[in-house]
Amino acid sequence: MAAEKEIWQKIGEGFVQEYYNQFDNTNRTTLGDLYSADACLTWEGSSFPGKAAIAGKLASLPFKSIKHIITEQDFQPTVDSCIFIMVFGQLKVFMLKHHACSWVCTNDVFRLGIHNIPA
């Protein structure tokens, strides 16, 4: 019998779906709204602190179209009542925090899977 999903899994899945929908199907100019004002993004080792820097980086990525294919995603509650998420397909890690009646992203780490291929 399938257990009902935990609340952090439902919120996390909803966020991930919305994130990649905006990422793949829009011009990404509103992606910044998913982040808190003092969020951090690390993109392939480079840091982008704050909502404005993150929005600028995501909107300026040099491709015309993109599609993310998610193979796995993991969700956990944290002791500070946040939600910790890891997405696989292309590796991506999020941290969500409840703020003013909505969930926003406070941390985001991205790495391409090319780092995983053994020699």
Binding site: D74, T78, D80, F84, F88, M95, R111, G113, H115, N116
Partner: protein, 120 residues
């Protein structure tokens, strides 16, 4: 040369300590977790210091990223390669959430996935 931010120093030290323990004396690994820690391993949930499955591993870190979080925790992500016994080398991803409790940095969340999931 600019000093590393504090969260990078703490995160790097933790990661180094974690994999040194993991590859040499796994019985000591419980000291870095608390009873409320969550550790999904390849999608299966384990909770608490006693819930770990251990095999013989040798980890090699390719890249690691560290960030501070709004609640003064540290988020660390590791991408690397892993060798288990006589099996071929595999890629892995592991993310940690570190929290300062009673002046010690402990791991409250730990997620591990093999890189086999990366290919569509």
């Amino acid at each position: 040369m600019v000093d590393q931010p504090l969260w990078e120093q703490i995160g790097s030290s933790f990661v180094q300590h974690y994999y040194q323990l993991f590859d040499s004396d796994r019985s000591q690994l419980g000291t870095i977790y608390i009873d409320e820690s969550c550790l999904p391993w390849e999608g299966q949930q384990f909770q608490g210091k006693k819930g770990n499955r251990w095999e013989t591993h040798l980890h090699s870190i390719t890249v690691q990223d560290h960030q501070p979080t709004p609640d003064c925790n540290i988020l660390s992500m590791v991408v690397g390669q892993l060798k288990v016994d006589d099996d071929p080398v595999m890629g892995f991803h592991q993310s940690f959430l570190l929290k300062n409790i009673n002046s010690a940095w402990v791991c409250t969340n730990d997620m591990f996935r093999l890189a086999i999931h990366n290919f569509g």
